[in-house]
Symmetry: C2
DNA sequence: AATAAATACATAAGTATTTTATGTATAATG
DNA sequence: CATTATACATAAAATACTTATGTATTTATT
């Protein structure tokens, strides 16, 4: 067991929506807290989404028609499940493609070799 | 000749310093305007650094001890050349490594295949 | 010769996204 | 019984960028 250093907060900026949209595309429906935990797991704690960033982003995506919600009660505690709308599916694909393209451009620009020693 | 769509401005956020530091590591010394043109060339216009973003960033990097400057006159017009300090060299490496790591994490998270149809 | 475009710097106002902080409340654990 | 984890939310502050504006010289176009 070793300590993972998180990325400097600047790097993650601008990728939050992409991460959320892609996760929802793959996992179907999820609730906010679940998203933070899943991302933490999948990235070995290298990316940790704060709640202050997450919830406003989810609200914004919903307002924009990318996500729809349904509330569910687990005992007395409420959960808000998010699902991609049809538009959200398209946006998800677009965002991931754009990021993939961006990464290629940056790899070229920064002369980064393809490293496979991942996560 | 075809039109290139730029990336949504969110994506580039947080990578500007990395790009500048890496370019200076590879090219030796450069002046501001030159940096914008070089990045535009190298990325086929996909990344265009605006002056409003560039100059404050350069000033900040200089203030932080990453860059040193020397003025030069081309005719009556001034140019401000930037060079990496020793500290700047280290920071440059760190930043590029961090970005490479981040990209690997993101590729895993987003299930992106290694695409080689670059730039 | 006059005008436009490119070169070269700079800064300020506005916007967007995120961090940090705070708040509320329930459920599980030790 | 107290702490930790779960689960939502929002507001203030910080950060990084876009857009707009300003100055001035040099080169290209008409």
């Amino acid at each position: 067991m070793y300590l993972c250093t998180m990325y400097s907060s600047e790097l993650i900026k601008g990728t939050l929506k992409t991460i959320i949209l892609n996760l929802l595309k793959e996992q179907g429906r999820m609730y906010g807290y679940e998203i933070t935990q899943r991302v933490k797991e999948l990235t070995n704690s290298k990316i940790q989404i704060t709640e202050g960033a997450l919830y406003p982003t989810l609200h914004s995506l919903e307002k924009n028609g990318e996500l729809s919600t349904e509330k569910e009660y687990i005992g007395k505690r409420v959960r808000k499940y998010y699902t991609l709308t049809k538009q959200g599916h398209n946006t998800s694909k677009e965002r991931v493609n754009e990021f993939a393209d961006f990464v290629n451009t940056m790899r070229f620009l920064l002369n980064i070799e393809t490293k496979m020693n991942n996560v």
